[in-house]
């Protein structure tokens, strides 16, 4: 187990992800309000907050699955604009893992992993499959490489999804409640995979209510409510002494 608190990860002056006064509306509904947030390279950020508070929307703006209307979002200095080329560049740096796995059901685990490297990054098939094998081994399901998603358990599917995202060699990984759709006994295997990834210095934003994971792995916890970032802090500090009432309330409900 690598020492997660070792601060030997190189820091650059430029943040990996930067939200500057970001607003987003769904029609009249103000879903993100003046978000200001910076994530350093190698930093692990856990985002929590009540359902509907805008957590998914926030991280989906990072790879432009959702479009923001005001303010600026920069990923490694690249600003997300309407430019398709720019979006493409950002997506190449950012991997995403979804609550519902979203594996491609008509492809095997291996094919799921090799698809994007071959067709989006122009990697040779042989090479892509080798890398896919290596990453499936890393998430400990090398023996399931030729199975289809429907033949895998939820935990295995989510680990394939993580391997699939890693195949594109992203510098940043986004996780949107990766364990919420899992049966309890499978949560651990997915969290362990993510913990290992954090140990390698991956920049991560994780939307999760797994407080144990947050305490062990996160450098920073971001608490959102009603479209706003209400509180940002170190995990220990946030969980033991939240500054805001809303955060206290939320933690109270979570523990009950």
């Amino acid at each position: 187990m690598p020492d997660l608190n070792a601060r030997d990860i190189p820091r650059h002056d430029r943040p990996a992800i930067e939200f500057v006064g970001v607003h987003k509306w769904y029609g009249d509904f103000h879903v993100l309000r003046d978000i200001r947030l910076a994530v350093d390279p190698g930093e692990r950020v856990v985002v929590c907050g009540p359902s509907g508070s805008g957590k998914s929307t926030l991280i989906r703006c990072v790879n432009r699955l959702e479009e923001h209307q005001k303010g600026a979002i920069r990923v490694h200095g690249l600003e997300l604009t309407a430019s398709a080329a720019q979006i493409d560049r950002v997506r190449r740096e950012v991997g995403m893992v979804f609550q519902q796995f979203n594996l491609f059901p008509h492809l095997t685990a291996l094919e799921n992993c090799a698809l994007a490297p071959v067709w989006a990054a122009g990697v040779k098939r042989r090479e892509a499959e080798e890398r896919a094998h290596a990453l499936l081994a890393k998430v400990k399901i090398a023996d399931q490489a030729h199975k289809y998603p429907s033949q895998l358990s939820g935990g295995q599917q989510q680990r394939v999804a993580i391997a699939r995202a890693l195949c594109m060699n992203p510098k940043i990984m986004l996780f949107d409640e990766p364990t919420s759709a899992l049966d309890p006994e499978m949560v651990k295997e997915v969290l362990d995979t993510m913990t290992a990834l954090a140990g390698e210095g991956m920049t991560m934003i994780v939307v999760t209510h797994e407080m144990g994971f947050a305490r062990r792995v996160a450098d920073k916890v971001v608490f959102m409510d009603d479209g706003e970032v209400v509180e940002t802090g170190e995990p220990e500090e946030f969980f033991t002494a939240p500054r805001h009432d809303r955060a206290r309330q939320f933690l109270g409900q979570l523990l009950r």
Binding site: F98, N102, F104
Partner: protein
């Protein structure tokens, strides 16, 4: 039926269902009467058919035998099989339509096996119709044969195959346009789809054969080209809606996962969305295929000698071959029915086969 009376321990549900059905059929005096009447009619129909097809039928000999029997005239089928199957294609070149038939049948059988689904099979759907056209026209070897002389079952299959393959090429962009964010494109796609779907196939054929050529006087439009243009557009308008429904049914997460991985719109469609959407609508595709096959005899109205026209041509010798009219149409009906029956059984098998493991 001893199994039923003694009670077969292995099949209680079936026996139970049968017992309940019988109970339902006689649940009241009125139902009992209806059941008896219907059963009588069915028995009478079967008996009439049996007499026509077997007992009163002429089985050997020639036209005289048919004159002597009141039932089916089977010797006629033997004597005219060639005309019915190959139409008016030149007698001495019949190997061409025969080879064509074999090629197309082979491709269709190969297409029914999921293990063979691949790009090369799709290319086969381009290559085989093209090869058949070259073969029938004589462009590669031997004397030329004009499309007006093509006929019979090979022609019906060829018309159907090109219509279906061509429709895919047209329908896929139509379906995508219909789902596009671009308003103008979407409206145009809706207009084309609804316009063509609002027209009977017969009208589409007439327009393509007689109205469209008027816009370019002096240009002679090949009959085959007219027919295929009309059919491709017609089938595509239905196919586009089927494909659109298949795409619509996919979870949003599929497109999102592909986008997050950096796959662009076209790659996402080609590699992620369309393969799943098409699998999901296979039963509808088979239905459409059957419908189109059953509609192909309409091409006769603009002068094509398809399988049914060839049969009709053969059946017009009623004065020489008494009873041949009914016999010929019975054979044609049986041929169409067999193809469609196999297709629909196949569709049901395929649906179960794909569902069972979530992929093909």
């Amino acid at each position: 039926m001893t199994i039923l009376l003694e009670g077969a321990p292995l099949a209680p549900p079936k026996r139970e269902a049968l017992r309940r059905t019988i109970a339902d059929l006689f649940s009241s005096p009125f139902n009992a009467i209806v059941t008896v009447i219907v059963a009588g009619l069915i028995a009478a129909g079967l008996w009439a058919f049996l007499r026509w097809a077997i007992l009163d039928a002429a089985w050997s000999g020639g036209a005289e035998a048919c004159r002597a029997h009141s039932g089916a005239c089977w010797p006629f089928v033997r004597a005219n099989a060639q005309l019915m199957v190959f139409g008016v294609y030149p007698q001495d070149l019949l190997w061409r339509p025969a080879l064509s038939l074999a090629l197309m049948a082979g491709l269709i059988v190969a297409s029914m096996i999921p293990r063979f689904w691949s790009l090369s099979l799709a290319l086969g759907w381009v290559a085989v119709p093209a090869a058949v056209c070259l073969l029938l026209s004589g462009a590669l070897v031997g004397p030329r044969v004009s499309t007006n002389e093509w006929g019979g079952l090979p022609l019906t299959l060829l018309v159907w195959m090109i219509a279906f393959a061509g429709a895919f090429v047209v329908a896929t962009p139509l379906a995508l346009a219909r789902r596009s964010d671009m308003g103008g494109l979407r409206t145009a796609a809706v207009a084309v789809i609804e316009l063509v779907r609002g027209v009977p196939m017969l009208v589409a054929l007439y327009v393509s054969r007689f109205i469209v050529p008027m816009t370019a006087p002096g240009v002679e439009v090949n009959l085959f080209v007219s027919v295929e243009t009309a059919l491709i557009l017609f089938v595509a308008s239905y196919l586009a809606e089927i494909i659109r429904a298949g795409l619509q049914a996919l979870p949003r997460g599929q497109a999102e996962a592909a986008a997050a991985l950096g796959l662009g719109y076209w790659r996402t469609m080609q590699l992620v969305l369309l393969p799943q959407a098409l699998r999901a609508v296979i039963p509808a595709l088979v239905n459409l295929g059957i419908g189109v096959l059953l509609s192909t005899p309409l091409v006769a109205v603009i002068g094509m000698t398809d399988f049914l026209s060839a049969v009709r041509e053969a059946a017009s010798h009623e004065q020489d071959w008494p009873g041949c009219f009914t016999t010929a149409y019975f054979v044609a009906g049986l041929a169409f029915f067999s193809i469609c029956f196999v297709a629909s059984r196949y569709s049901r098998w395929l649906e179960r086969h794909i569902r069972a493991d979530g992929h093909a």
